[in-house]
């Protein structure tokens, strides 16, 4: 096993635990925004598409990479905007009290 792969497996294993720990105490109110927020974070897949497109040496590979970037970018940008719109509503607004 190459040292690079070994390091990647370390990163993977630790990220699993961080992922579990970091959201273990989330109120139900925030479940939808949290789902949407994590959805935006996997939009990073766009960068994977960029790397494919940058190294593509045939038009088929370039087409696959291009599509991956378009879909990934939709996921990324759409995800963050949607989450922000949801959370914008959670800020406490001054309410007229009796």
């Amino acid at each position: 096993m190459s040292p690079t792969l070994l390091a990647e497996i370390y990163v993977f294993a630790l990220a699993v635990f961080v992922g579990f720990e970091v959201i273990s105490k989330v109120p139900v109110v925030l479940h939808t925004p949290l789902m949407s927020g994590t959805n935006a974070i996997h939009g990073i897949v766009m960068l994977g598409g960029v790397l494919v497109l940058a190294t593509a040496d045939s038009s088929l590979l370039a087409a696959l990479g291009f599509l991956a970037v378009v879909f990934g970018a939709m996921n990324l940008f759409g995800g963050f905007v949607v989450t922000d719109r949801m959370l914008e509503m959670f800020k406490k607004k001054p309410h007229v009290k009796r």
Binding site: T38, L47, G48, V50, A56, V70, N75, G78, V82, D84
Partner: protein
């Protein structure tokens, strides 16, 4: 990617910065006060990662191409994504998340396919890591893609919300599963591109068949599960491309998404396997086709808007129980108006939010927040259930399964064991509903036939507005 030493270190450190921003962002996202900042931090982390990757393309000596195409593709996706996300209505958020998740899934599948083809085309057999990761990314990414599309279709009403199950479909699922295993073995033994294409195709079909038999009520859980799938598929592409930023982000989402899925199942008191395979919501509706007259067999009590207005304004306490019907009718503003009206008359108003009311956990909170309902009037199931006993009127607006007492005592009921709001313990119950049609679970609700229950038939928004008018007139 092979940049010179110092630059390469800089790139790795930037990825580390973005990973830290993601983690802090996620942490903040689980606290109401900091959630918005959390999302912004995650977006900042994404910006850092994006700039780093683009910089690596233009780095001196990076023998890479298609720079123009990359920028064009990013621009197209960014414009489409941002435009759609700005335009979508709050009530349609669940579909939107499903669609965006599908986008991520298909991107991961495309990347995995491209990398496998590229590795194979270079003449030598791809190494084990590449083969394993590309297969994993393709299978999981494809399932997430078509599964999300079906979930989108079900929520949007394009595909039947009912759980579509048949013996044929179960057998087909089994066959496809075996086919995936066979293709995986063929590819691992060096089968090359043809079985890989077949794997892509079979996985896409499998995603459809996995979600089709699941009822509309369970879509939130499905979307959450597919969200974590996409995360894992993205992590797999990280292994293929030897990119730590992708591995960390994908894994974070995979792990937190799995946890979130389990939390949602817990809220419904059903194991995940039951959600995925039981086909809840497939049965024929217990009452006829719906409509106020359809359930003539069992006696129900009708109430008019005028009488309801009088009753509501002459009590001490009202608990509003919103459900998906309120979301569809866009009635959250009308509900708040009514609550304000009642508050002016000295009626204590609270909202009872069931964890799975609406189509996503927290969906109701989002909608009510949109209508400026103050936080301190919203109560969780555990916080409010004891209050129903001393409550005068429970006003159920388009909620159904989450207030069905059958969940407490009817062992035959598909929702048996699900924690419900004990609405039936209030002195009076008013249910605003379009018809007696059953909810997503496809079962009749005995609450409608409770002697304390009064049915107020009509569109939630129209009825609530009329109630408000009626009260204004009486004032």
């Amino acid at each position: 990617m092979e940049s010179t030493g110092a630059l390469s270190t800089l790139f790795h450190l930037s990825y580390l910065v973005s990973a830290i921003l993601f983690i802090v962002g996620l942490k903040f996202l689980s606290s109401p006060a900091k959630a918005r900042r959390g999302n912004q931090l995650a977006a900042l982390g994404m910006t850092v990662a994006g700039i780093t990757t683009l910089a690596s393309l233009w780095a001196p000596g990076a023998q890479l191409h298609n720079h123009g195409l990359i920028l064009i593709a990013i621009a197209i996706g960014a414009v489409l994504g941002t435009w759609g996300a700005r335009r979508v209505r709050m009530t349609d958020m669940p579909q939107m998340v499903a669609w965006l998740n599908g986008c991520g899934g298909v991107a991961a599948a495309l990347i995995s396919t491209a990398e496998f083809l590229q590795a194979s085309a270079r003449g030598h057999t791809p190494d084990a890591t590449t083969v394993a990761s590309t297969m994993f990314g393709t299978i999981i990414g494809s399932i997430s893609f078509t599964g999300s599309l079906v979930a989108f279709g079900k929520l949007q009403g394009i595909i039947s919300e009912r759980a579509i199950t048949s013996t044929f479909q179960k057998i087909l699922n089994g066959v496809l599963f075996v086919a995936i295993l066979a293709l995986v073995s063929a590819i691992a033994l060096g089968g090359g591109a043809p079985p890989f294409y077949a794997l892509l195709g079979v996985s896409l079909v499998f995603g459809v068949l996995m979600v089709i038999p699941i009822g509309g009520a369970d879509m939130p859980v499905v979307i959450s599960l597919l969200n974590s799938f996409t995360g894992l598929a993205v992590a797999a592409t990280g292994f293929v491309l030897a990119n730590n930023a992708l591995i960390i982000s994908g894994t974070l989402v995979g792990a937190s998404g799995t946890l979130l899925t389990m939390l949602m199942c817990k809220a419904m008191n059903r194991p995940l396997t039951n959600v995925l395979f039981a086909g809840v919501g497939g049965g024929a509706p217990a009452t006829g086709g719906g409509g106020p007259g359809a359930a003539a067999a069992k006696p129900i009590r009708d109430i008019g808007v005028e009488d309801a207005a009088v009753l509501l304004s002459n009590v001490q306490s009202v608990i509003i129980v919103p459900g998906y019907g309120m979301a569809v009718a866009q009635a959250q503003h009308a509900a708040r108006e009514l609550a304000d009206m009642l508050a002016k008359r000295g009626v204590a108003v609270k909202y009872a939010i069931h964890p799975v009311a609406g189509r996503m956990p927290g969906h109701m909170n989002v909608l009510l927040a949109e209508a400026n309902v103050p936080y301190d009037q919203l109560f969780d199931l555990e916080q409010i259930n004891a209050d129903f006993e001393h409550n005068d009127v429970a006003l159920v607006v388009g909620a159904n399964d989450v207030v069905n007492p059958a969940a407490r005592h009817d062992k035959q009921s598909p929702i048996y064991g699900m924690p419900i709001l004990d609405v039936d313990r209030s002195r009076h119950i008013i249910i605003i509903k379009r018809s007696l049609k059953p909810g997503f679970a496809g079962i009749d609700n005995e609450l409608y036939y409770d002697p304390k229950t009064m049915m107020l038939f009509g569109d939630a928004k129209a009825v609530l507005s009329k109630l408000v008018e009626e009260m204004k007139r009486a004032a």
